[in-house]
Amino acid sequence: MAKKIFSKDNSSYFLVIIAYILVELLLKTGSLSSLMRGLLVPLCVYVILAVSLNITVGILGELSLGHAGFMCVGAFAGAFMSRYIGDSLPQGAVFLIALLTGAIVASVFGIIIGIPVLRLKGDYLAIVTLAFGEIIKNIMNILYVGKDANGLHISLNSASSLGLDPESGDIIINGAMGITGTPKSSTFTIGIILVLLTLFVTLNLIHSRTGRAIMAIRDNRIAAESIGINITKYKLLAFTVSAAFAGIAGVLYAHNLNTLTALPKNFGYNMSIMILVFVVLGGMGNIRGSIIAAVVLTLLPELLRGLNEYRMLIYSIVLIAVMIFSWSPTAKNFREKYLGFLKFGKKREVS
């Protein structure tokens, strides 16, 4: 089969690039409100999170409710690295090292958590990932790390128990107060480059031999095992890649803030669930869908801002309505009967 330029995969790249050009044009003409400008980096963060969670949920077929935990680990590792290196290197190099640190630390956590978790099945797996996410958030709230001339000091009690040298001491992670003074290195351009990188790795993973093995496990574990696919290895691989990109998203997120703290709002299970909503609404295993869902669902509450206190109410009603409209058998029949000419939601069998 000849390669098509406008294949479904390439359309994901085009979509991102077109969006980038469009936003840059709007920025140049100054027609973007400051609210929207502030949303650009978070949008990239959410897109990376949604695409990376789709590896676990859509491609591997395991329900994970702890994705925000990996983001949290990555964010703290990256921000810590940035603060630790400080001004000894140019800002770009520091950010690159921070990104690598975030990705590596998050993937190490992915392996540590993945080995026990992936032995479980279905809803049990989901609840254990949720538990791990909450534990990570909790530990970040009581972790104190400081550096002085003698090296690093770590404590789980309080900043004073670090025993820092008063002259050269510097508290980097200050328990529930988090990390302050991270350089604000995240820009929309870097965000888009990271989104493209995530897309590149994910799409190539899906179409590789490895990706086919992972999807075989999703479709029928026993059949996959019987033809010699190493279940543990491929499950762990998918889970770890997913965690690594969540870590990268975390680093991007951390470098967009002055103060990084682990609150229930940004790293709790609610965040994990929000990312899951992006993935399910965009379509399981559908990368382009994840991107669109992440962007639309992040912008929707902002666009409804004029409605003030009603906006989250409308958001929730839209969420329920969309789910029922796109999944319920009655709604499907209705759509085929009366709205067939609109041709939306091409029928594809995705298990």
Partner: protein, 293 residues
């Protein structure tokens, strides 16, 4: 003596978790769905009781009954509108709808009652008892909560074992297809399960806020998640499991708050869950389901 009083506090909190977990576990057993909105039904029930008792000046008993009726109606409505169209289609789709319902309930409560913390007056007028010459005080709330939990547990067990609707529930949770062939109204049975679960949520909410009086639109979400953990801990789908899981979880939480670290209590609870599931992957009293090739 302080250990004993911590144990009682833990059992009281655990009894609330157990009542909520019963709702989770029954719904899971019969509909195989994680009802993420269950925690918010608790919150709505508590607001109804609060309005009836504090704002309208009704007696606590009347307030509780109104709250139970309100929650039952809400639970059945949620099931009929948001879950039933999707129940047999995709588990994940229902999960997302449940999250939507959860946001919806929180925001409705936010619109009606505002985001400020309401102070819930305890519905228990019984003073409590003092043992060992005043060294050990057990509050009335603690005793009532534990007693109510045990009564609910017993009534539910009898209901499921010896009544027709109860047996129908067991049948539907075992095999919905076969159950409907035997003339059981599957949709009706599922609706009944939601009704019972939501009624229990109202009771749990009132008891929870009698001991911990702060009431906000987000009051239900953390106890909801903890009760969900308790249900999984005891083996999701199993009623004695929810009871045991809830009580254990409450005791572990209070003891780790008292003796280890108050900030780490949640982390310890979750860590215990992970260890239990790794040793026994279907929870303490869960059934082991063999996979067929």
């Amino acid at each position: 003596m302080s250990l004993v009083s911590y144990l009682f506090n833990g059992l009281s909190l655990g009894a609330v978790y157990a009542i909520i977990a019963l709702g989770y576990t029954m719904v899971y057993g019969i509909a195989k769905m994680l009802n993420f909105a269950h925690g918010d039904v608790i919150m709505v029930g508590t607001y109804i009781a609060f309005t009836a008792i504090s704002t309208m000046g009704m007696s606590p008993a009347a307030g509780i009954i109104i709250s139970i009726i309100g929650c039952t109606v809400i639970g059945v409505l949620i099931e009929a509108i948001a879950y039933r169209p999707l129940l047999n289609v995709s588990k994940l789709a229902v999960l997302i709808t449940a999250i939507g319902v959860s946001y919806f309930l929180q925001n409705v409560a936010l619109l009606i009652f505002g985001s400020d913390t309401k102070s819930f007056t305890s519905v228990v007028s019984f003073r409590g008892i003092s043992l060992a010459g005043g060294k050990l005080n057990i509050s009335g709330e603690t005793i009532v909560t534990i007693a109510v939990c045990i009564v609910i547990m017993l009534v539910l067990t009898i209901f499921i074992k010896y009544t027709k609707p109860g047996k129908a529930m067991l049948a539907v949770s075992e095999d919905p297809g076969a159950a409907s062939l035997m003339g059981i109204n599957t949709n009706g049975t599922i609706a009944l399960t939601f009704a019972i679960g939501s009624a229990l949520a109202a009771v749990a909410g009132v008891l929870l806020c009698s001991s911990y009086p702060a009431l906000t639109p987000y009051t239900g979400s953390m106890p909801g998640i903890k009760a969900f953990v308790a249900a999984v801990f005891g083996g999701i789908g199993s009623i004695p499991g929810a009871f045991v899981g809830g009580l254990l979880l409450g005791v572990i939480e209070i003891l780790s708050k008292a003796y280890i670290s108050s900030q780490m209590a949640d982390a310890i609870v979750f860590a215990v869950l992970i260890v239990v599931l790794l040793v026994k992957p279907t929870g303490l009293l869960g059934k082991d389901i063999q996979e067929k090739v």
